[in-house]
């Protein structure tokens, strides 16, 4: 397949660096966990393991099957520059990513469950929300933006307008073209999105916990949580670790074939003339329909639940009507103290550093992945993604706690290990069909290896890198499970400070925290988005082959 035009030594160097970093961040902590499971295994199969495993895998499959098509459809629709209010919709569909899962679960019950918005206003509520169907739907809504992001950046990074034009002029309508050409060409990215969604769902905890538990719906992660919570009993700890290792094995069994068998087949090289260009003009009626559908989707999946969240943050207590008479800023006062300001600075710095390093790491593996050994590395990165935060944190403590316990460095390592795949998959999806000749051409034009990447590879990959960065930054910013296990004096993150001040489960302050983080993130994110649009605007305005 395609090889980046660099000397064999440098390529080997990249692969070696990736493998070493993987060993440090992923391999060794996983090994320590596996050793605990192997050495201390009490020899009893955990009760309900089969059911929990089945629930987990079926759930992840069902979520992937629904979330990826939704994400692809969103990416196709939002790609249109002539879509009215496009920037607004692009932001709106990403909103669920800004909210910690645990609050998202609550905001859905507040919107659609008994005594929620729809029940109060229309007398309609959805009993199934607290159960497998609800878990599935909310996870789909939560994962769709992720799939959208991965597919959208890939489409932006290698738009090949002539290939779509060729289909249209051959008689294919817009929808047929999307299916037979656009999506087919974006398959590596679609597959990347699928793997990412699948693995994230395998490892998802808060939503199955909040919405699934009332119906007795157990997954491996909620089982792990239960085992960790129940007493300092060493056997339950080992059981939790064992479950986590089982989850990792399941993930490896599911994603490794996808990576090793599927990826090379999906790969195809981008022709040299690929360049971003405006999509074909659409009929106003179609645009209106798409806008309407988008509005409905965004309203139901993000608007209403997030309105519930916003109201929860300013309503003085859970259960009182969210009317102005009951509004108060107490929750914000809880969140915005001098202590939290300090922690906020720390969290922002941590998220910035983590996201930046993660983009570098993601790129590293994406480049190394073009070699056979690198593909194994790519699979490895997904394994930490699936680990519940608590178990990964335990693995890191086992591996490095002796020296790094309680330091920000250990938290940073945890973020890097956990989110590596989140950064890697979108970048790999975009890099996949980057034509090696373009880099070779830069090299023979006198550019060094780094200059070649910077001047030739980076501009077309910029949307993917930005998307990956944003994703990592957001996730790191409101991460709570790992940092609440790893922090020490002077390394409390924002989420730790806010959640420690109350018992976990207090909705108001957590909602206020989400609102504060959303505002804090929306501002730079908006700026970044604006900058990226400015950046790519000149290329977009001069369509293919004016001449």
């Amino acid at each position: 397949m395609s090889r980046v035009g660099r000397p064999a030594g440098a390529r080997t160097g990249t692969a070696v660096a990736a493998v070493v970093l993987l060993a440090v961040l992923v391999g060794y902590p996983l090994l320590r966990l596996a050793l605990v499971a192997a050495d201390e295994w009490p020899g009893v199969r955990p009760a309900g393991l089969g059911e929990a495993l089945r629930n987990t895998v079926v759930l992840a499959g069902a979520v992937t099957l629904a979330a990826v098509p939704v994400g692809v459809a969103l990416a196709l629709v939002l790609r249109r520059p002539d879509l009215p209010g496009r920037a607004l919709w692009q932001a709106a569909v990403l909103l669920p990513l800004l909210v910690p899962d645990f609050v998202l679960g609550y905001s859905w019950t507040q919107a659609y469950a008994r005594a929620g918005f729809t029940d109060t206003l229309l007398g309609v509520h959805w009993a199934g929300l607290l159960g497998p169907a609800g878990v599935w739907l909310v996870l789909v809504v939560n994962a769709a933006p992720l799939a959208y992001l991965v597919v959208a950046v890939a489409l932006a990074a290698r738009a090949e307008p002539d290939l779509e034009r060729a289909a249209r002029i051959s008689g294919a309508g817009a929808a047929t073209t999307a299916v037979t050409v656009t999506v087919r060409l974006a398959l590596p990215a679609v597959a990347a999105a699928g793997v990412l969604v699948f693995v994230l769902t395998l490892g998802s905890f808060a939503i199955p916990q909040v919405l699934g538990a009332p119906a007795g719906f157990r997954t491996v992660t909620t089982q792990i949580y239960a085992d960790l919570s129940l007493g300092g009993d060493p056997t339950s700890f080992v059981r939790a670790v064992t479950l986590a290792v089982v989850l990792v094995l399941v993930t490896a069994a599911c994603t490794a074939p996808a990576d090793v068998l599927l990826a090379p087949r999906l790969r195809s090289q981008r022709p040299a003339d690929a360049r971003p260009a405006a999509a074909l003009p659409a009929r106003p009626a179609v645009l209106r329909g798409q806008t309407l559908a988008l509005g409905g989707y965004a309203g139901l999946t993000a608007g209403l639940p997030l309105a519930a969240l916003l109201l929860a943050s300013i309503t003085r207590a859970v259960g009182v009507p969210p009317t102005p008479g009951n509004w108060a800023l107490d929750h914000f006062r809880t969140v915005l103290t001098p202590r939290t300001a300090e922690a906020l600075g720390r969290s922002l710095a941590l998220a910035l550093v983590a996201a930046t390093l993660l983009v570098l790491l993601g790129g590293l593996v994406a480049v190394a992945e073009r070699r056979r050994a690198g593909r194994t590395a790519a699979t490895l990165t997904t394994l930490t993604l699936v680990l519940p935060g608590s178990t990964l944190a335990v693995g890191l403590l086992l591996a490095y706690g002796r020296w790094l316990s309680g330091t920000l460095t250990l938290i940073l390592l945890a973020y890097l290990a956990k989110l590596w795949a989140v950064a890697h998959r979108p970048i790999a999806g975009a890099l996949d069909r980057f034509p090696p000749d373009e880099l070779r051409a830069a090299r023979v034009s006198g550019a060094g290896a780094l200059t070649a990447v910077r001047t030739v590879a980076l501009p077309p990959l910029a949307p993917a890198l930005l998307g990956a960065w944003l994703l990592c930054f957001l996730t790191a910013l409101h991460e709570v499970t790992m940092s609440s296990l790893l922090y020490g004096p002077g390394s409390e993150t924002l989420a730790v400070v806010v959640l420690n001040s109350q018992e976990l489960g207090r909705i108001g302050p957590t909602a206020a925290l989400s609102v504060v983080l959303t505002v804090l993130v929306a501002l730079p994110a908006g700026l970044l988005w604006w900058a990226s649009r400015r950046w790519s605007a000149p290329a977009r305005e001069v369509p293919a082959g004016v001449g």
Partner: protein, 327 residues
Amino acid sequence: MSAEPAVEVTDLVVHHGTTAALRGVSLQVLPGEVLALLGPSGSGKSTLLHAVAGFLEPTSGVVRLGGRTVSGAGRPVPPERRDLAVVFQNYALWPHLTALDTVAYPARRRGESRAQARAEGRALLGRLHVAHLADRRPAELSGGEQQRVGLARALARRPAVYLFDEPTAHLDTHVRGVFLEELASRRRESGAAAVYATHDAEEALGLADRVALLDAGRLVQVGTPEQVYAQPVDAFAARLTGPASVIDAPDGSGELLVRLGWARLGGPLEGKVRGSWFRGPHTDHLVDTPLGELLIRESGGACRPVGERIRWTLLHGWSLPGHDGRG
């Protein structure tokens, strides 16, 4: 045969952002005609084709195909419902489809069965002598092979109008033969036409029934190849259509276009060799004359040393209309 022009654009204006790519172009392509769009890169050739194909919406102006308005009044007709085929610059072959599936694609979209579409595709590939490549994907095809598959896909569409968007390589003799033959047979039944965008004068003149010269989004001249070659409207048009020397008219009446072959060595006029290139059947000499620099082609011949004094005769010249500042 239809009485309407196969393609008719009227006052076509296209803006890309703030820059104007087409500044009011009006043009007709008659049924059965091959029109070459000749212009330097950036002159608006692709933009014009894209507007005709429906890949972009013109800022203003009208596009009509076979008398039917497809852009400019009411809802624009989408590309798939314009009776067109396009051969793209780099052929735009889908990387995931084999040559056969690529060529069968248009027939499939017409609703033909898979087997029938493939049979037709196989026949087309055969006509272009690439039937043996049916199962290959674009990455496994040479440039020339890609061109043939790209053309086969266009032929499979059986359109009223073919658009060639500056194919990167010249159509080779066989491909050109198949294409012109196809055009001729389609002309009898439905009046198929073609628009061929290129920046290569030789190809445009050799292929087209008429040539349209395009510069900076405006039409400079439209005419038969002979007209645009022998009677260009200005120096720009002259240089665009082939090797051209522009000298002062000996009678002082203005500028004179002298093509290769319009002057010969020996005769009353004087000059000095500035450069000399042996090209096999003939030799080209760049000559400094009192009237200006002139390229003279000598049949046979050999290189002459720079500075050699020679004499020459002006056989024919075309008086260029007043200088319009285009240079």
